[in-house]
């Protein structure tokens, strides 16, 4: 992000020659960026093929790997970091990758797609050994096992086959952020490869009014707002949102190719183990079950976790194909502060677009194929009256943990209860809070119900930047100049302020 316009005449670049089926891995520090250029051969980043001669820029602590099936030569720009030139904090070539296994998984999924399409079209069936169900995949794994990467690779491979597939990529990890901001769970249909350039939009980015060259920068996801980063905060709400999302995914109107493409669901690490996640085993299983039911899962991929594989086989073994896949050695242990920074990047990118200063000497830089300048966005600051927006918080303010309740007592209702937040009252804690603006409710009054706000999708996110209690007005940062697309908002536990 820092633009060190130092005068460096000849910028040294560095070439890496990669053997077939090896990958070059790098990790960027905050505030640095890196450009990668493919010189010879063929290479891909998380399943998205690189075009040779084009400079791909990475930033915002991106950690990625350039993999090659056939061997290639790549050229790395030096890192730009506060006017000093150096190498990425971590870079190395690895010969041990799980890509072979992932490719096999892809082939197996592809067979199901083909069979499903045959079945839909009523064409003669050519192979009975493969079920004629579209692959609906749930990816489970402990923290830092590369779940999102696996989802991305499988999705990218599917859309690259040239068969017109458009799998639905689902993100039910509120910590991940998916396409927009953390705290949301979402689903989008993907039909061109998703590029990797920043931690701010790991799954491709959502449509803006800026014209973009790549369709993967213009995805149209559907969002529900959970509002917290941990699943343990409100598992009941999570369960409900997952089911809502799944219902919509199943109701989607699609052509035969899209239906056959199936879907791929990325999950939070909390689903995989109870240690550290705060979820009890039964809660965890309930949430997994919710996913399985909601998305009609027929394949579970467990990344490098033997015990979980066994557990899943025990629970779902009869009807679901549970497969353990290896974990990549390249995954990076991420700490809490890194996650916090990434959340910051994501929100900033949501409001202001993605802008990464390319390294020096890289003139034709692209962010995964997109000219950098086009991705800059302008949000707008609006003043609205308290009455313009009904704000809710889901569940009680300070909830005692379930375990603190008397035995047998249940609190289901209050956990799901939308509680109106009055901005005029002290302690509303709205300043700097991220609000999820909800789609308008059912226009028919008779169809309304108390908890309807739980079932409304998100049309956008706004941030409360100032409160003027005497005049009952608040200032918000809205992603665009238009009027607010809804009059209801939910506040979660995320806060953001511009640095």
């Amino acid at each position: 992000m820092e633009s060190g316009q130092s005068t460096v005449a000849a910028v040294p670049t560095k070439e890496w020659v990669l053997e077939p089926e090896t990958e070059y891995r790098f990790e960027l520090d905050p505030g640095t960026s890196l450009a990668v250029k493919l010189i010879r051969g063929q290479a891909e980043i998380f399943g998205t093929e690189l075009v040779d001669g084009k400079a791909y820029v990475f930033g915002q602590e991106c950690k990625a790997a350039v993999f090659t099936w056939q061997g290639c030569t790549i050229e790395m720009s030096p890192i730009l970091s506060l006017c000093t030139l150096r190498c990425p904090s971590t870079e190395y070539v690895s010969e041990e990758t799980p890509m072979a296994a992932y490719a096999n998984v892809h082939t197996a999924l592809e067979q199901r797609r083909v069979r499903a399409l045959q079945a839909i079209r009523g064409s003669p069936i050519s192979d009975d050994s493969v079920p004629a169900e579209p692959p609906r995949v749930l990816v489970l794994g402990p923290a830092n096992s590369g779940k999102t990467t696996v989802c991305k690779i499988l999705t990218n491979y599917a859309v690259r086959t040239g068969q017109g597939w458009s799998p639905i990529l689902v993100n039910v990890d509120p910590n991940e952020g998916g396409w927009a901001v953390p705290g949301a769970i979402s689903a989008a249909s993907v039909n061109t490869p998703i590029v990797t350039s920043s931690t701010a939009n790991t799954l491709g980015s959502v449509a803006t009014s800026a014209p973009v060259t790549l369709s993967s920068n213009a995805l149209l996801p559907l969002f529900y707002w959970y509002g917290h980063k941990e699943a343990k905060r409100n598992p009941l709400l999570m369960d409900r949102l997952i089911r809502n999302l799944g219902q919509n995914v199943q109701d989607r109107n699609e052509d035969p190719e899209a239906v056959s493409s199936g879907l791929i669901v990325d999950t939070p690490a909390a689903f995989a183990s109870s240690t550290g996640s705060g979820l009890k085993d039964d809660q965890r299983q309930v949430l997994i079950k919710a996913c399985v039911d909601a998305f009609n899962i027929n394949i579970i991929l467990v990344i490098g976790h033997e015990k979980l594989t066994i557990e899943m086989q025990r629970i779902f073994g009869g009807r679901i194909n549970v497969v353990k896949i290896p974990k990549s050695g390249g995954v990076v242990e991420l700490d809490h502060s890194y996650r916090e920074r990434v959340h910051g990047y994501q929100l900033h990118t949501y409001m202001y677009g993605l802008r990464i200063e390319p390294p020096l000497g890289v003139s034709d830089a692209t962010l995964g194929g997109e000219p950098i300048t086009d991705l800059t966005l302008a949000p707008s600051s609006l003043q609205i009256s308290f009455e313009d927006l009904a704000i809710f918080r889901i569940g009680e303010e300070a909830m005692a943990p379930q375990s603190a309740l008397p035995i047998g007592a249940t609190r289901a209702l209050s956990e799901m209860q939308p509680v109106a937040v009055d901005p005029a009252k002290g302690g509303s804690r709205l300043i700097n809070s991220i609000l999820a603006l909800l789609a308008p409710p059912n226009p028919d009054e008779a169809e309304r119900y108390d908890e309807e706000v739980l079932d409304l999708t998100v049309v956008g996110f706004i941030v409360v930047t100032a409160l003027d209690i005497p005049s009952r007005k608040m200032t918000i940062l809205s992603p665009n100049q238009g009027s607010l697309a809804g009059r209801t908002a939910i506040v979660g536990s995320f806060e953001w302020s511009e640095q």
Partner: protein, 582 residues
């Protein structure tokens, strides 16, 4: 989107038959043809396939909707006047002098139909190598026909197909169908699902309809294969024999020379002729035709469905290749096997987009796709150029309804235009337009205030209202065109989707049909409305009954209040229209 509706109609007619098929009959022709005009190539081939099944769809093995409709639909689709039934009827003079030209599309589609049946039976009998051969031959033949052959050869192929289909007991639908259509006049029902075991004991039933000499071998032919695939058939009670006949369509193993030789000899000759003609023409090398053998030719009937365009063929190749991979989704297979993914992701797709790296096949289809893809980039880049300097911002996300109906465009063609900024712009523009339309009104001619008038498009009553400003009674949301009053919104939508003409035509048609008993003409409405509505592009307001799912989202401008008004004091006529339509 229209296809499912047809399948439903198809299913109802075939399974229930009486009285639905009878009721569908009066309008099946325009319905089918109109739809056929509007749909894309894939759907067309599906519809053709379905049409072929109608030939024998009735429980008695005859034309589902009678000979007349069947013939006229086939004629309209494949053109060539008599080529469908005509050529068939004159099949006696096969190889000779049929009058009408045979269209390639028709031949292909029959080939496809037969092949698919053949393949299906092969599925049930995977070890039948003869059948396998036949499928291969049919496929070969298909490619030949596709590559283009002369009119005579086409006719030959077609005749052969029919002859073979007739001689083949295999596909339950195909075999008995033939007799029924060469004799359009009322005909003793053909024993597709013989109610009595007579079929088995009296092969002559087959011969009955076959008035032509070329048929004479049939009786002697049909029983043997049955006897030999199911040698015990004769000892079983007739019912179970019948069951077997339908469940396990008897394929003719090569060994049944006695039975096969008879019927197939003629086709064989013909196919040899055909092949030699082709060889002469240089279309095919001579070794292609010969290894087929008698048994194989006997099954030329069987060709694959809907392969008319080469694009599907390439994707079929892909599918075959993918399915040939021996990978199971198990822990061991995933980790132990060598992945064969590179050919699929790289080698098979030799041309690459230099902008985003997406790959396309190196053949002509891939090139075309790549061109479309580059066009998309070009449009987007141009738009980007136009927008330089203007501020951009994040759009609001789309709502559930839009998301649910966002049809993914696999080709990426125009995707961004349609979905991004354009989408929002379109929504806004559409809203403004709708508001303007809603504001438009037509002054009610004096004396006509009480007269209920309904919109010719949606058939619902126009609501009249007293406009204070002008001190006049007006019809809200109305527009007057050619002396008729329409809902402004209906009219605009109909114009917009450029379907008004078609709609009016069909309306005329349905009015002309109203000579048929009332309930018949009433039944015409739902399917037609359903078709146009289910297809998202045609937003002609349909009758309320067809709008179950979209109710409330895509209704006309003044609908939101209509449920309330219906409750109290709507003119009775409105209720009538609704119940009529439903």
């Amino acid at each position: 989107m229209k296809l499912p509706a047809f399948y439903l109609l198809d299913a109802i007619s075939k399974n229930v038959y009486e009285p639905y098929a009878r009721h569908f009959t009066p309008f099946i022709i325009p319905l089918f043809l109109e739809t056929y005009e509007q749909v894309d190539q894939n759907t067309r081939s599906k519809m053709e396939e379905m049409l072929l099944t109608w030939r024998t769809g009735a429980p008695n093995g005859k034309e589902l909707f009678g000979v007349g409709p069947q013939v006229s639909i086939e004629r309209a689709i494949w053109g060539g006047g008599d080529s469908g039934y005509g050529a068939d009827a004159s099949r006696a003079g096969r190889g000779g002098t049929t009058v009408a030209p045979v269209s390639k599309a028709q031949v292909l589609s029959e080939l496809d139909f037969t092949l698919s049946q053949r393949e299906r039976s092969l599925q049930q009998n995977p070890y039948d190598t003869t059948a396998q051969n036949h499928v291969n031959v049919l496929r070969q033949l298909r490619t030949l026909v596709e590559a283009g052959v002369s009119q005579d050869e086409l006719r030959d192929v077609l005749n052969q197909l029919r002859a073979l289909a007739r001689s083949m007991p295999a596909p339950p639908a195909a075999a008995p169908q033939q007799p029924s259509y060469q004799s359009p006049p009322p005909q003793p029902s053909v024993p597709q699902y013989p109610p009595v075991p007579t079929t088995f004991s009296q092969p002559a039933t087959y011969g009955v309809p076959a008035s032509e000499p070329s048929y004479s071998h049939q009786p002697s032919y049909s029983p043997p294969p049955r006897a030999e695939t199911k040698p015990w058939a004769s000892t079983l009670p007739p019912a179970s024999a019948l069951l077997q006949n339908t469940i396990a369509p008897a394929t003719i193993p090569a060994g049944t020379s006695a039975s096969v030789a008879g019927p197939s000899s003629i086709p064989l000759n013909n196919i040899e002729n055909l092949f030699s003609a082709l060889v002469k023409a240089g279309v095919v090398s001579s070794n292609n035709g010969t290894p087929v053998g008698a048994g194989a030719t006997a099954k030329v009937e069987d060709v694959k469905p809907g392969e008319v365009d080469p694009a599907r063929q390439t994707s079929q190749e892909y599918r075959r290749a993918v399915l040939s991979q021996k990978i199971k989704l198990t822990n061991a297979d995933i980790t132990k096997q060598r992945p064969q993914v590179v050919p699929f992701l790289y080698d098979r797709l030799s041309s690459q987009c230099k902008q985003c790296g997406l790959r396309f096949a190196g053949n002509s289809i891939g090139k075309k796709k790549l061109e479309e893809h580059l066009d998309m980039h070009f449009r987007q880049n141009r738009k980007a150029g136009q927008n330089v300097g203007r501020g951009h911002s994040r759009s609001w996300f789309i709502g559930v309804e839009d998301w649910l109906h966002e049809i993914s465009d696999s080709k990426g063609k125009g995707r961004a235009d349609r979905r991004l900024t354009a989408k929002e712009a379109a929504v806004v523009a559409a809203k403004e337009e709708e508001a303007a339309l809603r504001a438009s009104h037509v002054v009610v001619p004096p004396g006509d205030e009480a007269k209920p008038i309904s919109c010719p498009i949606c058939k619902e009553t126009l609501q009249s209202e007293f406009l204070e400003d002008e001190e006049e009674w007006v019809w809200k949301n109305a527009v007057k065109k050619e002396e008729r009053i329409y809902h402004a919104t209906c009219h605009a939508e109909a114009l917009k989707s450029n379907r008004l003409a078609a709609l009016m035509r069909s309306e005329k048609a349905s009015r002309s049909r109203s000579v048929t008993p009332d309930k018949l003409s009433l039944r015409t409405t739902p399917p037609r409305g359903g078709n146009s509505d289910a297809d998202g592009s045609v937003r002609v307001p349909a009758s309320p009954s067809t709008q179950t799912r979209f109710a409330g989202t895509k209704r006309k401008a003044d609908d939101p209040d209509s449920p309330i008004k219906e409750g109290g004091g709507t003119p009775p006529l409105k209720k009538m229209t609704i119940s009529t339509a439903a």
